[in-house]
Symmetry: none
Subunit: 200 residues, 4 copies
DNA sequence: CATGAATGAGAATTCATTCAT
DNA sequence: TATGAATGAATTCTCATTCAT
């Protein structure tokens, strides 16, 4: 049951979708309003009708990109009941991030973190919250796994840190070289880590 | 054997030193010439006397920051003859990156990679070369370790990828949260990974 | 004999009433269409349905404010048969201008005069006509007074100039300081001027 | 002994001089940056090199115009030792305001007061201070006159209010009609007021 | 040489107005 | 008819760079 959107809501949505990959790939500073105009084909006035500033647009773009990210992970979790498989699916999903047409610029959370605090403090805060949420998802997954005896008595936060840091780093490496082999290597490593160290 | 610098060379050097942390923390787009003037206290003309553009200055800043980084690792290698100790020392050194007053903004290679290639293609290329060099250092370290039977018959590139990705990711996590525990966790993980999987 | 207004006419009237104090207090340039939307709560289309431009709206607002002003003076004249009392009543009425909820921004004629003719030449012309009319009211009042021997043989235009300039000036002073004592002082002065110099 | 100005200081000064009549005649809202560029013939960058915002420029323009005004009055006072003559000279000087090439737009204090508080609160505050100073000048003039028995025991503030309000009002009238006869009439009135009511 | 002055392209944003449904 | 959507010119301001003294 899809909600019907007004014309304006659709336009707003379209702007966000078109603009999200821009901000994600080029950053807040690196994306100018004229980039936005170009990619949307809209005049300035229309953009400002829906977003009262570049800041707000960047926020909306981040939220869109992050929602997309989360949905991918939620699906990986949803479709795998066994905890070990779940973690492996998450790793796989993560490693396919750059394939997503909205996320070819990498992980919006990480990109925001790197651009740092001078760019847009509110956005950075949003990134923190997103990362919190995302770490919690892994935390809970592992905790449930421990309850079900599918996982060893590992520290959930530590495992989450390791998984996230490693793949995020690998994604940036892949971006740097424009070569996904770095992701593949890290994925292999993490899979065997999960199986040997985390799985029961 | 200290080379004597002319006054001009010293000024240029000073500019680079003052400006490098700026570019590293705020990125190429995020650093404006007026930031540069402010941090150096120099008039516009003087900057342009030594650097013909912001691009060139950014390049010099990157080179400075990377040289600093490399020196830290070179020292870690130099001071440890045993290969396992070397790798562990590298990991430790890496994890202390944010302590360096010139590198509190994180790893210049990674930051450049994330800002992407719209910002400054030449700079990105430099980052790639730096990363190549850095991976080679690890590669050689491991290869030597294998020769000396201090390492298992692991794939050098894979280990390098894992080490670098993981810590780089952890550094960004630490930046995001302004909390180094994420580095600590990843370091623990990597140390035990090295000892159990890489070390002979 | 109240004329019945259609719904549209009432809407138009309401817009003018809500907008008149805005234009009067902030001026033509200082009042934007979004101010108009905000104060009326109406959508853009509706405003443009009733007024074909901001200019026309400003004109209507001026006319409304001026009509209000004139009615106050007309009443002061109507209710006082003796000429001296009439002039004194006019002075008093004038001095209460800022109390009127539609005129807290001051005298629309004067405000328009000060904003000058770059803003809106037609509006300035309207202000001139309003001032003409207003001066004529005083002129006639005095002339009648002279006929009835209630006034000395003063020059009507001179007295009008003095009265109007003085109070208008005082109103601006009051606005500047947000303090009506400047009006009070000028009023005292003018009353004694009228009684000693103008009255027979 | 004229102070030597640097080139930059001269440019800044020139901008202020060229821009002051603009702001005075058209107001803060009515004067756009492109007006400023046109009248100065300078590019944007140059304006912003010397003034960090339109606000600051407007302030400088006001200060310049007011300084000019004050100097005129100071001269009238300086050149007349007798208090009655002083007041009459002030009135005359006031009435010639519109002749000044920098002040053809009228009195900057009054114009600022009319444009009101929404335009530029700091500017309005400056106008208040200017008016305070100006009232004080008259106040002191009269007080001295009283001491020297050249004036009756009038209330200084009341006389100041009357003089200022009346002429200011007359100046606006003159602007409205583009006809100085309104100033002349008010001047006559005030002169006889001074001689009959204020002078000893 | 050294440096402050000048430059103008481009950034973000607001505006009054017109269009389409 | 009513109204939200679309428009683009104009506004304020920043930037990297070049010039002139």
């Amino acid at each position: 049951m899809t909600t019907t959107l007004t014309k304006g809501e659709r336009t707003k949505q379209r702007i966000v979708e078109q603009v999200a990959p821009l901000f994600n790939a080029q950053g807040y500073f690196g994306t100018s309003l004229s980039d936005v105009l170009e990619v949307t084909g809209l005049p300035k006035g229309t953009i400002y009708r829906y977003f009262e500033s570049k800041d707000e647009l960047a926020l909306a773009a981040f939220d869109f990109a992050y929602a997309r990210l989360r949905e991918r992970f939620a699906k990986a979790i949803r479709e795998n009941k066994n905890t070990v498989k779940r973690l492996l699916a998450i790793i796989t999903e993560y490693s396919n991030l750059l394939e997503d047409p909205y996320l070819y610029g990498g992980c919006p959370i990480f990109n925001t973190a790197v651009e740092g605090d001078d760019a847009h403090p509110v956005l950075l805060q949003r990134a923190r919250e997103a990362m919190d949420e995302w770490r919690k998802m892994i935390h809970i997954t592992i905790r449930n796994g421990k309850k079900r005896k599918e996982m060893k008595q590992v520290n959930e936060d530590e495992v989450a840190s390791v998984l996230i840091s490693s793949i995020e780093g690998a994604i940036v490496m892949a971006k740097l070289y424009n070569d996904k082999k770095h992701i593949r290597r890290t994925v292999e490593h993490l899979k065997s880590y999960v199986q040997s160290t985390v799985a029961a």
